[in-house]
Symmetry: D2
Subunit: 397 residues, 4 copies
């Protein structure tokens, strides 16, 4: 497709949108993530000017005819189908965007890639490391571009964090502590969601929230070498149905390069709505981030104390697409940056990584998740045995 | 001593300071903690009016004659000695205040108690659980009042947290996450301190900082049943001398009642000066605390979001001693509250616990510290084994 | 147009986008605001489902042919023109969206209204109260819907503030303190902008930033009855050209209902990027807002202390259009809410006010701005005359 | 007194407390401020080692015999009297510490100075500028050291702010905005306090809170040249008695050097307990302070964004007296710093200013307060006259 750019505008930029190649998009899933991806694909056309490619929303797939028809109309897809295999077979589609539940991440993504479509798939890549590995191997073998949608890599403050670490502003990294805290399961009436069903979701807070933290740890600090964790299901029955996924987990992690970390996620932290937070400490400085204040990055140069950087300057990562300094972005913009990155890689036949998460990254996060589950099941914990005093002695003090 | 109060003032309050019994104090150690305890003992006399007992600063012990003489003058002790055994033998002394290095916590405290003196000892109670157990057993057997100086129980916001939990404002407790982050070892020129010498200190961040977090976990949430942790010494040699204590540790903990926790401490977190922070989540609400803002407690009632309570109202814990609402306290005031609590227990022959930490509490924290070390040495960690792709496949993505 | 809805979908909702009437939009201006309005108009179609009307971007006007042609392509307008009068004359256009510089706010808006087009015009409505009054009078006389784009009324947290005040959660309002602080003029190399030219802009920080604060004061607290202020131009010459607008102003204001306020704006506050902040105190509580954290509202119920409400719940104002709780919005979304409100008023032939700012509101803000200028020029200030001491006496102390 | 130091210890430091001269203190008043000053005077002896002079608490004066006797015992004064003239006549007293209500600030301070005693007097120096001027003139004429107890100059963060400004870190100062917000009068049952009685207090929020802000403006930015303000009494009757002082005021101020400012204080800001806040913007940076977080100073170097400096390092102002980095101070410590400063000036026969506020500074603040009252009474405000639309036209929009 890249060659069609050669006839473009001044300074190598396309003169008009007519000079910009298009790419047909087929989407699987029309829930929360389908809505977010669709919005981003429409926005790229106008706000990342000139866009690398102009997405055309060809068709969207879902099992329920009425609902998917309504979603197509609402999201701006020209057509809808009730079987994702139709998307895979559709020659107009160059990018398969998989926003379905976790149980339909692997197989449709593989099928799409094997017909030569580029693929972006929501996280977690699979319900298990095995499934994720299979997805990576088979998609990777096709040579298409593949991305696992760890969108928080595309928060401007997170990218800035990466740049600061890469330029050794923090020195050698010693600590990573990351949490992802939400509170929607504190309401015991919440029930019957696919996210609480292991068959569909694979895991609970671990794959849904923890995977994001694990991916950011990997992106910002490096490879996780070992874990020791614990998991909890606080409300094992909801509305008469067993909940077979975790509500929360916590783990200590060791990085290959020596840093020590903690990773935790929970859906039971009252008052925390979307509390993805991390702090990184190095020998030369520290930084801290909180998704609930996604426009801010806190940086301590040396031990000087934390400065709040409002990451909204046009010179900050991704901000050239947006507004003058000080005009904050929202959560959905991460998808614009992510899909813009993917479209650029497709246009230029460039690598998705290291800034975009590939299926390999999706798989590697899944290995860490699985290791946490194994460590929680295993014999690694050390019980604390408190010695008792003789009864007479306990009266004192 | 309590009977001397009976002739006191109106409404059962002493009419004047002449009606208030005194208690002779002998102190071991004249460093940072000696200075803090001395200040508090002087302050109690005037600011916690009427004080339960009036401390008289009888004598202070230290090995270096010139230095301890100067400290006695500066701190307001009438006399000084160079052997703590003289304090133990001094009949004028009713309270032995042990602020020496960790290696002289156990033996002098035991000796003082065995001559019938009440004892307050800085934390950690001993260098190991064994040493701490011995101290508890032998001091406990004497019947004197004993306190391990976990002073952060006496931060007004922490006591308020305890009261909120006790009154079930948070419901059932599900999560505890506590860290204690400092940055003074980021400076690699720091060296040759007793705190970095295992023979004297027993451990590093673990016993110095971690013990505080562990004690607060115990005080606020309950007994810790198991741990899985990791420790680090980032700078194993300083100024040519081996550092044989930990610079940092992290652990997941499980509480007997089911809550899941993380506990971490480090002296290598650039920009964090005295960052003892905890967050507790329950089924009905959450709270959060940060020692760097010790006058504040953040409380989310249900999922409503966090309210910053400025814990400075006269009706808040301990604040009746101080100023009108809004006039903040400092770190040193925790010692005033702590020692006031101990003097009250002595006067009334009342329990030091559950609000004051006893030697039993000091011992129990030591067991958790030792268990973290054992878990870090052991085989409990699960390595993450990432499967590789065939080389040809890795080019994609 | 409303009648075309009658054949719509189930439950009175349109079955599909085919059931939803369209409205042709003509835009004047393609700068910062033109880009923001265009983005919102495109977003309404898909994200405020079902949209009240579907905007069709018919044509955009600007003086420079090449630039406006590129903007039309980028923004998604079907056509472009170089004279706004062509938009006024275009029968396909039902809504005239005026995002040009302040000097072309009044006349084109009046002309569009007088041909029967609904009008939305950026703030300030005019360069002076007189010009704004003329705009209001002539547009108001036509019977079209008119809106002055005070978009910060459409921040969810601001609307929530309004609702809390309306429901008397704060009791009687006693204080309003509002500032709008930016720092882009601290850079002395910034020059030659229309915003610094009185002929085009009318005023500086006053009409650009101050007008927002004044409108919010009016929206949230009520009518401003009197002012006393001062203005400053800190850098009167930039790049050899005189700056004839204010860089900053400050004023005390009195509200008709008795509240006391301060209003201030400056482009010279280093470190403040888009610091529109206000605090409102009433007899029963307080609230505080900061545009740099636009997803948050701080509320003190009574004197209990401030709770940070993350205004992202689907039940919060405007949030039904967006995402699950905790997924923050950005600055640009205020325009989606604002233009959605206007389109709804057009569809339903309903009032734009009181939630939308009308041209009357635009005029009233201009009167306050003008009064501040008059008070700053006038004799209202009281000099402080410090009496001197005899020289001999000054040596002491 | 200074010569007695010459026989002192090594390195010019006194060897022991026996080498340090003492100074007898007589105190007028035993309320909130008397308690705070007493505490500081006792603390100086031990915590500012070696103290410049050792304060001896000779005698305290108050009108009610029983109460002042109890206060003497509680505060540590050797004697008490019921007529402050006895203090003035007492040759053992070298420092007269005036903590009485505002109505007894001037005359006793003058009398004490005229008998050769150094004087520290609580703020405001007098109930009016005239009274304050008289106090300054007569005390200044005696040659004693005099201090008006604007203790917030002695917050470490405030002194650091002063140092940063003096070293031109902020460049030329353009803006000062200061507020002092409390909420204790929101409770309408509060009544019958001397602070609400003009005869005793002189004014309300203006002299009590506003004077602090005015003094800090003067200390940090410079002379205030003109003001324009407004005052309010929201609850003119409490418990059947007229309140004849202001509950709140707001003013814009112009500094002699050109900066523009706002100053405001209120006792009616629900949720604000002791909210003395200021922000200062200069051409090269900004800083912000909040007394409720008195250990923190926020600094933006250039436009980089605000860094939170935890002002607790031993190298920070005043902190050499206290603890290792990170151990926060409380409100009361400002008095230790302030009185230590005064004692040092007395010992060295040095100036109290510019860091300590003298009676001249107390007088100058009073002139600004009086000017605000005059401006509020005067004709300086500009009414906002909104023009009406013809009735028919108002229906639209």
């Amino acid at each position: 497709m890249g060659e069609s750019l050669s006839g473009g505008g001044r300074d190598g930029r396309p003169a008009t949108s007519a000079d910009i190649p298009t790419i047909g998009v087929g989407m699987l899933g029309y829930g929360f993530m389908g809505r977010a991806h669709s919005s981003a694909l429409r926005t790229i056309r106008h706000m990342t000017w000139p866009p690398p490619l102009i997405p055309e929303l060809v068709s969207i797939a879902g099992r329920t005819e009425d609902a998917v028809a309504a979603a197509a109309d609402e999201f701006g897809f020209a057509e809808h189908v009730t079987d994702w295999r139709e998307l895979v077979a559709d020659p107009r589609i160059g990018l398969f965007d998989n926003t379905g539940p976790n149980s339909v991440h692997a197989a449709p993504s593989i099928a799409a890639a094997e017909t030569g479509k580029h693929v972006v798939c929501e996280k977690p890549l699979g319900r298990t490391a095995d499934e994720s590995y299979e997805a990576w191997q088979r998609v990777g073998a096709t040579g298409v571009k593949h991305m696992c949608a760890f969108n928080y890599r595309f928060v401007p403050a997170v990218r800035l964090a990466r740049e600061l670490i890469a330029s050794e502003e923090l020195g050698e990294i010693l600590h990573f502590r990351g949490v992802y805290l939400q509170d929607w399961l504190v309401d015991t009436s919440v029930a019957n969601l696919w996210r609480l069903d292991k068959t569909v979701a694979g895991s609970g807070a671990l794959g849904d929230l923890g995977a994001h933290v694990i991916d950011l740890a990997h992106y910002l600090v490096g490879e996780i070498a070992s874990v020791a964790g614990a998991v909890r299901t606080f409300t094992p029955v909801r509305d008469g149905t067993e909940v077979d996924v975790d509500d929360a987990f916590a783990a200590t992690v060791e990085f290959s390069e020596g840093a020590l970390g903690t990773i935790e996620a929970s859906r039971f932290c009252a008052g925390r709505k979307n509390g993805l937070r991390f702090e990184i400490n190095g020998t030369a400085g520290s930084l801290a981030f909180n998704l609930e204040r996604l426009n801010e990055l806190e940086l301590s140069e040396g031990a000087a104390g934390f400065r709040t950087i409002l990451v909204t300057d046009p010179g900050h990562p991704f901000l050239r697409h947006w507004w003058p300094a000080g005009h904050v972005l929202g959560w959905e913009h991460t998808f614009v940056h992510e899909l813009h990155h993917l479209l650029t890689a497709i246009r230029d036949d460039d690598q998705v990584g290291p800034h975009g998460a590939t299926f390999e990254d999706g798989y590697r996060a899944a290995e860490v998740c699985d290791a946490i589950v194994r460590s929680a099941d295993g014999s690694g914990r050390v019980p604390v045995s408190y010695r008792e005093s003789a009864p007479a002695r306990r009266a004192a003090g």
